[in-house]
Symmetry: none
Subunit: 186 residues, 4 copies
DNA sequence: TATGAATGAGGCTTCATTCAT
DNA sequence: AATGAATGAAGCCTCATTCAT
């Protein structure tokens, strides 16, 4: 069934530039016409490959998280000491922070799109990233995992809002110093 | 004599419920009609008090950040020891995390509204919170300030995406422990 | 293959009845909805073919003056004696005075649409008619051309305001008699 | 009853600047709010003195033609020879062409406002001017009167559309020369 | 497979008007 | 006499989507 393969390949190809579009404009401010123009096709073609705007959006998110996990597995190898792994992580995030900012935007957008009905996909995105971090950094304590994830999320969101903020690696290091001071002061 | 209405007071009154509306739906998905229905007035009335949707939105943000700063000054007093202040901060955040999540949503939305032209308001929001944290927690180092702000931002965003995540105070504490472990392992 | 529709031909077809609509109601009193209803299409279709109300209006004017010039070239041939050409002109005007009244209404309307920014189109309309008259009637003196054009404009406007006014040909002739009397009385 | 006198005086005062407003923007493009702002009152006041936009408009036209006739009677005295009277007329028009252009705009606007129902006021305006011209210039032949009126109308409209057109007096003179040439060529 | 014409609901905004004060 | 808050209809325009080709 060669037709189906082509069909899926074309769909992937159409999806590729969509993350940037949705992240930049937001779901509701981005029209199907703008998407089609950016992709160089007609709206009819878009509806030929996707069941509607929401379906296109969801498939795009699906595609994005899959490719990200693959990349993370390679760039943050698990068989390293703690400080090294954290360093690798911060470098990995620093190299891709623009892309992660896009993913976060898009996920927040989606969460609000239809309240509870969107829960499953949001959870899927979160769990994918949480598990990757957990396994690659060998963090088993749930609270520690949450805290690290919060920090990662926050750094990326903050630097997206304010590009002049300190780089990721510096922020990681500074936070550790704060922790030490507190420990001492107790 | 005109119908007795304090124009500014009425405007404040109309603004009050808008944060929740914008945060829940997003700027573009929330129509002026929906706003007016939620407020129990007509769209004409909305336009009597505001120059348009964007102006309404901006005045709402202005209002919100002012009242937040006032609250923070009271609930996180500056004349305390480091661990106490951090504890107060985490409690303050914990009590209001729903509201802060709304503000973050709304700020991210706004940033994308029209690219660069929105920069000044985004900066105003960020600087207001940064300065409040800096002065109340006596943090002078810029990188440390950025790092703490990232963490706060991240915790709130993460807990908004995943309400089952560990509470704020626990995450703060866990992060400190990670820092210690790393320090030891070096 | 797309639905077979010649885009430009359809646009012409939509434009055709618009002169009468705009002339009868005036630019601001004629809504896009009324236009679409008169044309038997939806407003969406109107916006598919035109960039907006003003663009539709301008293209309509363009279309109208082109077809008028073509008609004038045939019905008021240049290779005739002066009295004959004037007679042809008055007949030509008499046959089409309703249409010319529409064009004048529409042009006056347009001129006020937005002050100076409309100058170019108004000038284009005026110059098109002035040049046609100048060449077909072999009038080289600018003041004479202006005077004849004023008379034509005036007759049409007056007869539009007061349909019982004397016919165009008679007015032309009467004015000539006034001129003679004045000449004699000097 | 002094109140009523004051009431009428205020109404006159409000009406005065309206001709320029309506002529410049057109009936439908000029909102009651803009009128009230230009007059320095509130819309409520406008509705206190007039029964609505159309009533205000009609009373304004009424007021304008009355004051114009008075002026004409003085400036184009009837007891002069033909060429002198025509010269006086052209000067009179030249001095006030801006105002006449406003009146014409406003009359054309009104004519289209509601088709036949507006006929009486349009006729009133026309007859007022026609009779004034007829009596002051001693023109009895209806066709001659129409022709002269058309010319006057046309010169004013044309010069409003194209301010660089030849001055009124020159156009009057040029038209007479055309008439002579035609007479000779017969 | 791919087109783009067509739709009708809904977007933001302005309007003429009313009425409590 | 005068205000200006309030209304709801209507303005222009864009939207996601469908469907004949």
């Amino acid at each position: 069934m060669p037709k189906i393969v082509d069909h899926d390949a074309k769909r992937e190809e159409l999806l590729e530039p969509c993350l940037a579009l949705f992240a930049t404009k937001g779901f509701h401010a981005l029209s199907m016409r703008k998407i089609s123009e950016a992709l160089g096709v007609t709206t009819g073609t878009l509806y030929h490959y996707f069941d509607g705007k929401l379906a296109l959006f969801e498939q795009m998110i699906d595609r994005v998280i899959k490719s990200d996990v693959e990349a993370a597995l390679q760039e943050v190898p698990a068989d390293q000491s703690w400080p090294i792994k954290l360093l690798n992580l911060s470098r990995y995030l620093g190299q891709r922070e623009g892309r992660f900012a896009q993913i976060i935007h898009v996920t927040l957008d989606y969460k609000r799109y239809e309240g509870e009905s969107s829960k499953s996909l949001t959870d899927k995105v979160l769990n994918t990233y949480l598990q990757t971090i957990s396994s690659q950094l060998s963090i088993e304590d749930r609270t520690q995992l949450d805290a690290l994830f919060s920090l990662i999320l926050g750094v990326i969101v903050y630097r997206d809002l304010n590009p002049e903020a300190s780089p990721i690696e510096q922020q990681f290091w500074a936070l550790q110093k704060i922790g030490l001071e507190i420990t001492k002061s107790i």
